[in-house]
Every structure is written in structure tokens, then in C-alpha cells.
Amino acid sequence: MTRDIAVVAFAQTDHRRTSEDLSEVEMLMPVLHEVLDRTGLKTADIGFTCSGSSDYLAGRAFSFTLALDGVGAWPPISESHVETDGAWALYEAWTKLLTGEADTALVYSYGKSSPGSVRDVLTRQLDPYYLAPLWPDSVALAALQAQALIDAGHTDEPALAAFAARSREAARDNPHAQLRGPVPHGDHLVRPLRTGDCPPIGDGAAAVILAAGERARTLCPRPAWIRGVDHRIEAHGLGVRDLTDSPSTRLAAERAGAFERPVDTAELHAPFTAQEVVLRRALRLDDTVCVNPSGGALAANPIMAAGLIRIGEAAARIHRGESDRALAHATSGPCLQQNLVAVLEGDPR
């Protein structure tokens, strides 16, 4: 690696069940302004812009183009978009900065789940021949994974309830979270998962700014240096995979350098409680690691932004001096199909 690149600023919306009073770009604008204000940069100063979102959430083709009004796309800018979580947009921006083509990047992502039914919407990302015609919804697929973990003896319903309680307790300190404090474990939504095992459905947006080398030090007192990022995918056929394991997460973590030294913080994108079991095993996290101090996706899961928020929350902990080496994970697809791992470090103190 020829250049050091850091996350120098992070901002997110308050995550809410609905934001019907705002269009996507109106929801996004305050976040873009906040993240720029944190660095003193103007939109015209940004070298590269990359975003993540999904037309299926909006119900409109090329919906991301309307959000471009928010980043000052005239005069022409260098811009790109990924049709997935913003964590992958950050990966693209990171590689762009590595090439030396740009010194700063603005990465943002957003999702409004409130206009539609997200359980149904997510079925459209499944294989169209064997799965999508059956309309298996996102909770059902996560429940299959949870039962596989219970059968394998890796967890049980009380343990899952404890993950949910710990996450929402941690979210007490997160003013942006949608669910905070005690949340009833509730009835089965799709057994064995109860409502408390599932993420809230909500609208939200997030943005980060990346900067290279000395530029990062001028923009942030304690930059969160990206030591590595990698992302991997597994077979789309659920019956081909061992749902109790996540070899893609393990491989991404290894390639991102996560196992070279211990981390003190891990922000995991586990929308369902049982998925934290899988990720903790894949990432070899023990009780010495502070997992999801933000509350994680169980406290706020704005689709397409929740993965970028994991990176942002990990970086913000380094900015504040609460972490020296943090791991951030993002996922996409059913049952942790695609996984991205980033390793962030602060300067030695």
C-alpha cells in the first residue's frame, strides 16, 4: 500500500420508522452538511464522491440520481454509485484514493424503507428461478439460519434474547438509534425469531469523508486510518452453504489484516441476533472486545446505510480516543451472503 487513507468525519441521521415528510435528498442534506462542516470542506473541495442506495426501496429506477442534487454535481464532479450498502461505496472510494486520483472522498448512503414492505422488497434480491417465486422474506431466511445455529448447539433462544437486550441497552448512549433501552422480546415473527431478535424497520442516511496522508491530519485531530478492507461473497444457494458459519467474513477479515493484532472494538452488521453468533465465531471475537457499543443494527437498521454506519461508528470511536484499533463489518444479501470487513486504527498515544 502506497498511501495511508483515513476516515476523518462521520455523520448520520436520527433513524426513524418513517420520514415520509422528506424526500431522499431532503433526508440526506443535513447529514452531508454535517460531515462537511466537521472537516471545513465544501462540496467543491471533494475529489471523489460515491454513494450507495437501492431502487427497490424507493420503487423507482435510477432513484440515486435525485440525491446527486445534494452534492453539487455541477460543475461536473467525479462520482460513482453502488446499488448496495454504502460500505461498498466506501470500498470503492478507498480504492480510488489508493490510486492517487483523489485525495479526499465523500461517501454517503441512504435508505427509506417506509414507503414499501421491506420484507417483500428484499425477496427481489434472491435468485429469480428457484427462490424469488416462493417469496421467502428476509425474516424467514434469517430464522432458518437461527434454527440451524440452535440445532448445532451454538446458541438458544435465551442467549439470542441477551444479544438483543445488550444491543438496545448500548444504544441508550446513541442519540440516533431507533430502538433504545428495554425492548420486549415479543412474539415469534418467524419461529425461532421473535420481534426482539429482528432489527427495527426505518429510514436513515449516513455519510463519511475519507482523506489521504497528511491531508487527513489537517482535517481531523485523530484520523481513523484504514489498515485494510476486503469483501467476499458466498454461493447464492442457501442449501449449498453452512448457515452456521461465515467463511466469507473470516476470509475478508484475514485479508483486511484483522487477525494480525487484537482489536478493542467491533462494529458488526448483524441485523438479526443469531447473526452475531455467526460473526463472533468467524471473527474470533472474545469478551475482551467491545462489540457494537452503538447498539448495532438491532438498534437502527436503515437499509443501505447500516453497513456504512458500522464503519462510521468504529471510526468515530477512534476520533474520540475511545478505541485504538477497531473492526467494522457490513453485510448484504440473505443470511450474511456478502460480507465486508474494515480494520481502522488511530495514531499511537
Binding site: 431532503e26 442534487d69 414499501g116 422488497v121 418467524v190 419461529r191
Partner: protein
Amino acid sequence: MPEVLKAPLVVEFPFTRSLGPVQSAFLTGLRERVVLGVRTRDGRTLVPPVEYDPVTAEELGDLVEVAPTGTVTTWAWNHDPRRGQPLDTPFAWVLVRLDGADTALLHALDAPGPEAVRTGMRVRVRWAAERTGAITDIACFEPYTGATPPLTGHDGHFDDAVTGIVAHARLDYTYSPGRAQTAYIDALRGRRTVGERCPACRKVYVPPRGACPTCGLATSEQVEVGPRGTVTTFCIVNIKAKNLDIEVPYVYAHIALDGADLALHGRIGGIPYDQVRMGLRVEPVWAEGARHPDHYRPTGEPDADYDTYRELL
């Protein structure tokens, strides 16, 4: 501010998808009540079959029959079935490893309740009464305690194989245009056009979307523009669109309403199509009960000077 607008939005799409040789054989087999898998070079049998080995990426095509009976590898009880799912009574989602297969197939299991389902239980295919060559030719699985039936000996070759499927999808939304566009649409109800001014560059955007695309700043100051405007550029449409009750040729134009710094789109009427020109002064024509101008017609004023709209092209 006025209450934000909302309207139902239904997105429906019948995707016609072609099948490769492997998926064609599998889905044709279901139509004929035969379940086929595909054999990998190292001897595994993948059901449902895929065209490429998920481990080695090697192309696969060696089809082999497996039994319509199998074992549940994991399950989840769905007490509240949703639209489009295989059964409309409570059922279990199951991954089933069919006898002879090394991987599992996702489908529904018809069972009286969650206490009747467990990992490791034996099940068999319940065929749909009418089968077309689709995954839904398996109506669902059902509990089964009998022996594995003998295979039919099918080799996976069919004279009249299905070569495609139609994948229906429907998603229901409640669309809301947000604050700025709600204000724009509300104003149109009173036959007024409002834009928003950027706090930095002072340009007025119509229709407003809540942000200045040049400065990247939020906008909120409303400005009434028009009703008259200037044609900045135009084209002549010669192809009649389906379901559109407008005779061709007609003129589609960019119109800079007076006071606006962005041209909007509109049809030009009340003048022969070949007499429309840049700089033509126009005004909106409203149809009774319409929510937006039907078209724009000449005002009769002298044409606008090119320099007054050159920045808006």
C-alpha cells in the same frame, strides 16, 4: 407547512427469463414429477442444480435423478403467510436435502404446527396439480415416514423442454414526494408555479427538489415564477406513444418560466409544429380539473432576446 402528499405506487413486472440447459432440465423435470440434480466432478450432487460448481466454478451439465423424498436440514415456522408464498395456511420454511443429493432445496412444508416439525424429519414432495415447469410445480413438502421410492430412471433429456419462465413480481409502495415537491404540487392546485431559491447562488429551481444541484445546499425559500415563459430549446416528436392521445407531430420543449433559473419540460400547442422556435414566448393552458398545465401556447408577445435565456439552455 401543509400536510405532505402521499399516493399508492404499484410496481409490477413480469420478467421473461430464459433458462440454460441445466435449469431447463430441472424445471422441465418438475413438470414431469422428476427431480434432477447436477453432478460435480468430485461426485457431489447439487439440488437444485446450478450451471457452475460453486466451489470450483467449473461448468456443470451432468444431470442425475434424485428422490422426491428427503430430510429437513433446518426449518422456521411461519405462522402468518405473506402474499405469494407457497401456502396460505401456516407452514414451515424448510431446507430439504433430497435423498441422493448433497445440498438442500428451499421450500415450504405443510405441517399442522411447529411441534410437528424438527430438523432431521423425513418429508416428500407434494406436486402441484397443474405444472408448468417452475419451482412452484412443487406445491410444498409434506411429512413422510415411508421408504424412499425407486427412481424413474430418467436421464434428464426431454423432447419438449421448457426454455423460459415468466417471473412475476409486484411490490406495493406509498409514494411521498417530500417537502419541496409537495409544496410545488400544492401550488399547482391553485394554478401557481413555485420554485425554491438557493441561499448561496440565488438561482431559482423549478420544480424544486429541496437542494441546489450546483452548490449542494438545502433550499427552502419559495418563489413564485411564471406563468409566462420562454422556449429555450425544443424537439419535434414524430412517433406516437402508446396510450397517448396526442397527434403527431407535436413539439416538446424546454420552457424557462419568468423568474426561474432552470427550464422545465412542456408540450407546445396552439401553433403549427414547424413554427415553434427558440425564444418563443408561451403561457400555460389548463384543462378543467387538471393537476398541471396541459400544454403551453404562444402569448403573442415578441420573441425573447437570445441573451435573456442563453444561460438556461
